[in-house]
Symmetry: C2
Subunit: 545 residues, 2 copies
């Protein structure tokens, strides 16, 4: 028996587009004389469809898509992920299912049991868990179908769930396990996937075909890396990361196993590809292709510009250089050099006169109060207006260039440098931004060396440096990681040896600035805990403030 | 036996503040010789604590609070809501519980069974449902404790849940049912609460003490209205809406019943109070007290200003009037008249010169392209900068004045009129804004009559009217309500008699503008489906776009 797995880049709610992709994959599978093709989780409608699932009309469109797919299932079995209505009166209205289509009909519907409801996942919001189990059958082979999380309840000290659906499925003596996934990338968990699949293969002594989504949906980036695993727990093949891929396997060969085949890619390289795909898909799926950003001469906007150029091409990226009276000469020089290295259009718009326009009109209202954050923010917001004016005039999406360290402590101006349609590096800490910049420059100097060597500064007042108001980024980023990624409290972080006052100040800043993060762009997620939909905090909360 | 119910305004994460409130309520109850006092859901930590629940340190602080409360439970039984750790290895780490404290100890812990995970609720994200049931006992009376949603699974055609915890509790033959709630206000469901309690009282033939949270937590507004119900299903007493209240009842009297006592308040008046409380608590809980807003002379900013003044006092509200060359004379006049009626400070800052400053510097980049939305947005964003400059200089929070109709179709400028720390009227449609304005003016003309009579306009280009680009608000708001509140699809809405092209255009606008709403302030929620945490939509989604 031959089995095809299709690792495709779906688009939420684009039923026609998703269907056409699946139909051409089916055609390819048939050309390879495949008996069975498997797509990923919720492939009809894209993942995550979020509250679109509450629209009857949206579900109807997915049902139509399934019917059309079924009509193509005569020479080949099709396993597809789709939301299916719960026929019972009680419980949530939908199941998140794997459907087996064959001989023109839906032959078996296997709902998902373990519904992730944490971090970026909201599946209990929409879906009822499975209570019944069974199998699909094709050419004498029994097939167990699982959806994503269903195979993940293996061997934790503190499991989130009280059941293991694979145990129920195993009772039907399947010959092979399929897993339909939409598992978002994060740099901390790359190896876990193989570990989980291995533990399933060894426990059940069965081959597993794991089919993952690839591509980005706003903030979530799916890295592909679909896997075929032999019953001995060795990786028979791993599909490429971050790109579409359709491959066909002979089941007998997979059963036999062979020396393990695993790709190796450095973490920083994965982050680089993830962010590039994140930008590319955000634009493409919105039907847009041009970006703009402000280049300050600093490392954050430099890295963002490089990623944008790699994602969209230099002809689709333009930059504004907007020096004020507080900008150093080298800022413009460094920004200009970068733009020239990248071959992108840049314009220089000095903002001093506009700034004095604002301070002039505000002078009678400012009552002689000294220069402070109000004047600093005026500069940042003038830049926001200029960027957005080009955005509105020519249809360029403004890219936000804030990093995770700044976003965490609120070191940024709402409607100023925090503006933009997409936050590109908002999930990597400042120290990681430098790492990424070094990786970008590893073969030749794209980002000017001077950008690396100077002290980070917002340049909103004379001789300002980030270190005037923030601790060293090496320390700050460690404290932030403990608090944000690891959810440690102040006492636990202090116990690690950090200064008590500093820890309390940093945690207070993080919590106080929730209101800013509430209003910033979606952040491309590459960590286990990004700002945005996966981290839901009260704004008026008093905790640690 | 005497029973006290305490309807209090908690603050998320403010353990000390919440504890002090509860301790003084206990003191008051003891002074009334009460035997038992009941607080509302998650009263130690405030509701909703959101992802603070993932911090071990946060749970520890709640546990300390419970221990202190227990030490006060010698002369009186205390029922309090708190998150409690799940002692089992499997499942989520917490329960959302009602605790019975008596004689210095936790006597019984009853976890919540029905965990709302829809709209603004995320309880499955944190909590494991109850699987065991029991009762508390004090002075020979058996008490069944339920938490919020636990009593709501009554008589729907399509229940969300597959169990009814009150049935399990009933098996222990309780004498009285307590319900600890944190049930957010919405104008569409005011009567439902009494109906649900009635159905429980009649089914189980027991008195019910329903204790609700009051006050606002960012976008969620809790209206109080706690209820004591006799076993015959009549309301024995309803506590006031939107304010703290502590009352003591003789259980025997409640058992006996009396003619039903229910408050009546018009919907528009409830909305008025809800929004006022929403503003007041947002400021108070952030430790701030001053607001600023832009007054355009239109109805939206007028209503927002009135609500701000009622919430914070005229001395804490100031306004900027920022006419451009496209503003009509009467705009400034109407705004000035309103400010004078309200007794608030206002300043007039004409923006024409600043506008020409921007268009001048941008002219070489605009390549002779005609005036369009880019120039319109520059005006709106200049106003944003001026408002924010005062906000930053003096600590006034900028109030956003956009209504739900505009926010729905994206009729607003990101970082311009969509700026602000809190959206006051973002959950009421334009037609409701007029209703609210009329209600405000019912005794005397506070909002100038002229503001009612003129055609709505953004005044960003000559002779502009909202009706140039939007349908009549009477029609628009109905279509929006069908789509947003009722989740009807295009075919269902067209079937109601609306023009097909119009419906498709409106729905497309709503979905296309998700990116704008993603970046706007939290919206005070008064409907069953507000923009914000209760409506989670993909940005790159292709549905209806």
């Amino acid at each position: 028996m031959k089995i095809t797995i299709a690792q495709l880049n779906y688009h939420i709610g684009n039923f026609d587009g998703n269907l056409q992709k699946m139909l051409s994959a089916i055609e390819e599978a048939i050309a390879h004389e495949s008996d069975l093709i498997c797509f990923s989780e919720l492939s009809t409608c894209g993942y995550p469809p979020r509250d679109f699932l509450e629209f009857n009309d949206f579900i109807r469109m997915s049902e139509e898509c399934v019917q059309i797919l079924a009509s193509y299932s005569n020479p080949i079995g099709i396993i597809v992920g789709a939301p299916i209505r719960n026929p019972n009166m009680q419980g949530k209205d939908l199941y998140n299912t794997a459907l087996f289509l064959y001989q023109g009909k839906i032959q078996w519907v296997q709902p998902k049991t373990l519904l992730p409801t944490y971090d970026v996942f909201d599946e209990n919001r929409y879906f009822e868990p499975a209570t019944e189990y069974g199998f699909a059958e094709i050419k004498g082979k029994r097939i167990a179908m699982t959806v994503c999380e269903d195979i993940w309840n293996t061997g934790s000290d503190n499991p989130l769930y009280t059941t293991n659906p694979v145990d129920y499925l195993k009772a039907y003596n399947p010959d092979v396990i399929f897993n339909l996934s939409a598992s978002p990338f994060s740099y901390n968990k790359s190896d876990e996937r193989i570990k989980v699949l291995k533990s399933n293969a060894l426990k059940y002594k069965l081959p597993i075909f794991y089919v993952n989504h690839c591509g980005a949906q706003t903030e979530l980036i799916f890295d592909g890396g679909s896997l075929v695993m032999s019953p001995d727990g060795r990786v028979y093949e791993e599909l490429p990361y971050f790109e579409e891929c359709i491959r066909t396997y002979v089941l007998g060969d997979v059963m036999g196993g062979r020396p393990e085949q695993v790709q190796s890619m450095a973490t920083i390289e994965k982050i680089y590809h993830a962010l590039t795909i994140g930008i590319r898909d955000y634009f493409r799926k919105l039907g847009l292709h041009k970006a703009i950003l402000g280049l300050s001469g600093g490392i954050d906007s430099a890295v963002t510009a490089v990623l944008a150029v790699r994602a969209l091409g230099p002809e689709n990226v333009r930059a504004l250089l907007m020096p004020s009276q507080f900008s150093s000469d080298h800022s413009v020089e460094d920004a200009r050099e970068l733009a020239e290295n990248l071959g992108i259009r840049y314009d220089i718009l000095p903002i001093k006169d506009l700034y004095y326009g604002f301070t002039g009109i505000l002078e009678p209202l400012f009552d002689g109060k000294p220069f402070d954050v109000a004047e600093e923010n005026i500069q940042s917001r003038i830049r926001g207006i200029l960027n957005m004016a080009i955005s509105n005039k020519f249809g360029n999406i403004l890219l936000n260039t804030s990093n995770k360290s700044e976003m965490a402590v609120g070191y940024g101006t709402l409607y100023g440098d925090l503006a933009g349609g997409l936050s590109v590096i908002g999930d990597i800490y400042k120290t990681q931004v430098y790492e990424l910049a070094e990786w970008i420059n590893k073969e030749k100097e794209i980002i000017p060396n001077h950008t690396f060597n100077k002290a980070p500064s917002a340049e909103l007042r004379p001789h300002q440096k980030d270190s005037d108001s923030l601790p060293d980024y090496n320390i700050l980023d460690q404290i932030l990681y403990c608090y944000i990624e690891e959810r440690k409290g102040p006492m636990e972080i202090i116990a690690l040896g950090f200064d008590e006052n500093l820890v309390r100040r940093v945690l207070r800043l993080v919590n106080m600035n929730e209101f800013k993060r509430y209003q910033t762009a979606p952040v491309l997620r590459v960590s286990e805990k990004a700002f945005g939909m996966g981290r839901r905090m009260p704004i008026v909360g008093k905790y640690l403030v």
